[in-house]
């Protein structure tokens, strides 16, 4: 059973699929333009030393997102 979760709950080293982004359109569009598109697989690489932000791998490149933004990105875990 695929349980939905948000990106900030993903543990480092794990991967999941993006199923949607919450929030207003400009914010959503910004994330979309950086490649955080529905259906895309995202990997959480690591947390910064002070636990925020975190490093992710998406579309073959590395990106840093704050917990605040990650909370609005909804995921479906992958096996």
């Amino acid at each position: 059973m695929a349980e939905s979760m948000s990106l900030d709950e993903l543990s480092p080293g794990h991967r999941a699929r993006i199923v949607g982004i919450r929030g207003n359109s400009p914010f959503k569009k910004r994330l979309l333009e950086m490649g955080l598109v529905k259906g895309e697989t995202i990997v959480k690489i690591k947390l910064a030393p002070l636990a925020d932000p975190a490093e992710y791998l998406i579309k073959g490149y590395h990106v840093s997102l704050r917990r605040q933004e990650a909370r609005d990105i909804l995921l479906e875990p992958l096996g």
Partner: protein, 756 residues
């Protein structure tokens, strides 16, 4: 190609697009703009194309830089523009607006889209948007060597077919593919693209084969039709407010797409137009219909479809042919952004940078200072005695000491700029922002604000220039406005003069530490206040690419360092020169008459002159204002000097108290002379002890810490942010300093702390 070129050469010379008339017998200047994602190697290609022949200019009054360079190729004069690096053309950030405006309004002959081949999918998102604009496009598939290292191949012919644009593989760092790129630029430019005029509107077909699906495309068609109807109506009735915006530059289809995407910039341009009402009604109904159908705003749908199109292309043209080697960047980051090691390594690197700037930079600084002293001494020696004394004084005390004392810091800045360039070009800067973001968030700022803050301990001016790394204008302005609170090294001489005069040796370090700490705390408080008042609103999402580590070419590092230094020198030659002359005038005029000079005994003559000068008069006029802070006219006069440069405070106090080294000629009462050397500090400290209380001493330091950023800071804030913010910074900080210092002085006097 030869035929085409000779045909154009035979043509009658016409004025080029930039409006300058072409010289007889010459082809018009070709304008080529480079567009691409940040970190796509765009600037490296730009440097290769233009060599050192480039200049940095601010575009349209905003802070985003546009670099321009010129070259000649195959007999053609070519102007190359390096547009700001963007991920999109959505008019979301300042950079995107500048890039899009340039493409639309300046109509470059060719756009070279620099694409990072190792990150094709995200890079092609921008390409898709450029295609939609319908501009003449050449794609530079950059980092072609790294694609191979990733074990991939890119079928560039197929890619070119999908994008209907030539695709040229390049390796910017090794100067490969530039010649072919140049050939394709000339080929693409050869048939001059006629801008679509209202009479020759094409049927509503998208310029590229992006399929948005029947629903979206149906609505797009409806809006396009509406645009065309309104255009026809406007043409028929002259009174209707002229043609619609953007149509001179692009197609009705593009305008329809942007309207459906709810593009802020396009909507703004349309507002007030006669056709806006009918058009926006259609757009609104289309947006509502799509939103109801998909449960999502059209701009999101469009972005998703656009990515879908790009992903489709990538699946067709990218092949994984070999096992990818272990990513070097990931391995490096295992250490550099390690949870335990990351911060200590960062601290060490920053310490190293500062050591380089201040310890290593002090050596050439010494040379320059000696050179400056030598020149001043030579002038003193060679100047015919008693002739044009004022001119001598202006040269020695005004120009040489004012401009000279700014120029002598060039070695420090050279090291600083080199270090910043290295940190940026290797990719470490993004990691520094990643590591520090949590701390900076607490100030309402962004991880990238950390570097300017740190630089601010050295000098506020390069720190303000370093805020250019920030993407959002609000972040940039907030950082700029609080930067003067980070105590710069020019304030050190003030503390070094005052602390030993009033505090016991065992407390020296504590007081110094306290002053720095007060500055940092105030910076935090002010940043938070600014964030909740002037710059309120949800902060821009912190979505920051962590680019792969790259070894920068020494050429690029030298070039970028030089560009930054040149800007600093230009400032020294213009604004600082002017203000130095003004300060010199204020402290030297009006002069005492010979009779007045006779009246004062020689030891008092200088103080009398200082009191008599405009600066002295201003200082006295300010006495009632500054009395609540415990300052007298002498301190006021010195504060006036501190506006020229903070360290001038010390020299100015020395002039007022006439503790000049007697062995020096009287004329070199250099207001900006270095605190050491000419002025012996101990007599001055004894004067201070005799006249002021430790409380006043502390208040002077506090005031100097907070108030009136020096004129160089104000000048550079104006340049980078505009007058409004420079004035807010100046008056805001001065007011804060006044209130805080007054409070400390009054409370201190009341409780009799440090009053004896």
């Amino acid at each position: 190609m030869f035929n085409l070129l000779s045909k154009i050469e035979a043509a009658v010379p016409t004025p080029d697009r930039t409006g300058r008339p072409g010289q007889p017998g010459q082809l018009p200047v070709l304008t080529v703009a480079l567009a691409g994602n940040p970190n796509s190697g765009k600037t490296t290609l730009f440097n290769l194309l233009t060599g050192g022949h480039q200049r940095v200019g601010n575009y349209g009054g905003v802070t985003v830089e546009i670099k321009e360079g010129r070259l000649r190729h195959a007999g053609r004069r070519i102007r190359v523009i390096d547009l700001p690096g963007t991920y999109s053309l959505a008019a979301f950030s300042q950079e995107e607006i500048v890039a899009r405006d340039f493409i639309l309004h300046q109509r470059p002959d060719v756009i070279v889209n620099v694409v990072d081949g190792t990150n094709l999918e995200r890079n092609l998102y921008l390409t898709a948007q450029l295609r939609e604009l319908g501009v003449p496009l050449v794609v530079a598939l950059n980092m072609a060597d790294e694609i191979r290292k990733k074990g991939q191949t890119v079928d560039r012919r197929a890619l070119g077919r999908y994008l209907s644009a030539p695709v040229v593989p390049t390796v910017g760092t090794r100067n490969k593919g530039i010649k072919r790129l140049m050939e394709h630029i000339l080929q693409t430019a050869a048939p001059p693209p006629a801008p679509p005029t209202i009479t020759q509107i094409e049927p509503s077909s998208p310029p590229a084969a992006i399929h948005y699906g029947p629903e979206i495309e149906g609505e797009l068609e409806r809006i396009t039709q509406c645009v065309e109807e309104q255009t026809a109506a406007a043409a028929a009735s002259q009174a209707a407010g002229g043609p619609l915006p953007f149509l001179a530059e692009t197609s009705p289809w593009w305008l329809a797409l942007k309207l459906l995407e709810n593009d802020r910039d396009v909507l703004e341009a349309l507002s007030g137009h006669a056709a806006a009402g009918a058009l926006l009604e259609q757009v609104e109904s289309s947006r509502r219909r799509l939103a109801a159908l998909y449960g999502e705003d059209p701009e999101i749908l469009i972005a998703e479809r656009r990515y879908g199109y790009v992903r489709g292309i990538c699946q067709e043209v990218v092949r994984q042919t070999a096992e990818a080697r272990m990513d070097m960047t990931v391995r490096i980051d295992r250490v550099l952004t390690n949870r335990l090691l990351g911060l200590p390594i960062f601290a060490l690197l920053m310490y190293g940078t500062f050591w380089l700037v201040f310890a290593a930079g002090a050596i050439p600084l010494g040379w320059l200072e000696s050179a400056l002293g030598f020149i001043t001494a030579k002038i003193d020696l060679l100047w015919p005695a008693g002739r044009a004394v004022w001119l001598h004084s202006l040269l020695a005390d005004g120009v040489l000491s004012g401009v000279g004392n700014v120029v002598v810091f060039l070695p420090n800045l050279l090291f600083l700029f080199a270090a910043i360039t290295l940190l940026e070009d290797t990719g470490y800067m993004a990691r520094a922002a990643f590591l520090m973001d949590r701390l900076m968030k607490w100030m309402g700022l962004h991880g990238k604000s950390f570097i300017p803050m740190l630089t601010g301990f050295g000098c506020t001016v390069p720190a303000i220039l370093a805020t250019r790394v920030l993407d959002s204008r609000r972040d940039r302005l907030t950082t700029m406005l609080v930067l003067p609170l980070v105590s710069c090294s020019a304030r050190l001489p003030i503390y070094a003069l005052i602390i030993p005069a009033f505090f016991a040796p065992e407390h020296h370090a504590t007081v110094m530490y306290a002053i720095y700490l007060i500055g940092i705390l105030l910076a935090v408080v002010v940043a938070r206040i600014l964030r909740s008042t002037v710059f309120q609103g949800r902060p821009a999402p912190f979505v920051m690419e962590l680019p792969p580590y790259r070894i920068p070419t020494s050429r690029a590092v030298l070039l970028h360092t030089w560009q930054r230094c040149r800007m600093y020198l230009r400032k020294a030659g213009t604004i600082i020169l002017a203000l130095s002359i003004v300060m010199w005038f204020l402290t030297h005029f009006p002069t005492l008459t010979p009779a007045q000079q006779e009246y004062y005994p020689p030891v008092e003559r200088q103080q009398a002159q200082a009191a008599h000068s405009y600066a002295g008069r201003i200082g006295r006029a300010l006495e009632p204002v500054f009395r609540p802070l415990g300052f007298d006219w002498k301190i006021n006069t010195a504060l006036l000097g501190a506006f020229a440069a903070k360290e001038v405070f010390v020299a100015q106090m020395a002039i007022v108290y006439a503790v000049q080294d007697d062995s020096l000629p009287a004329v070199s009462t250099a207001p900006a002379a270095p605190a050491e050397g000419r002025i012996s500090m101990d007599p001055l400290r004894r004067h201070l002890q005799a006249e002021y209380t430790p409380l006043i001493g502390f208040c002077v330091m506090l005031f100097c810490l907070i108030a009136t950023p020096c004129m160089a800071t104000v000048a550079v804030t104006r340049r980078e942010g505009g007058w409004r913010w420079a004035l807010l910074q100046f008056w805001g900080l001065t007011a804060a300093a006044y209130l805080l210092t007054a409070a400390v002085y009054q409370v201190g006097s009341l409780l009799q702390i440090g009053t004896s």
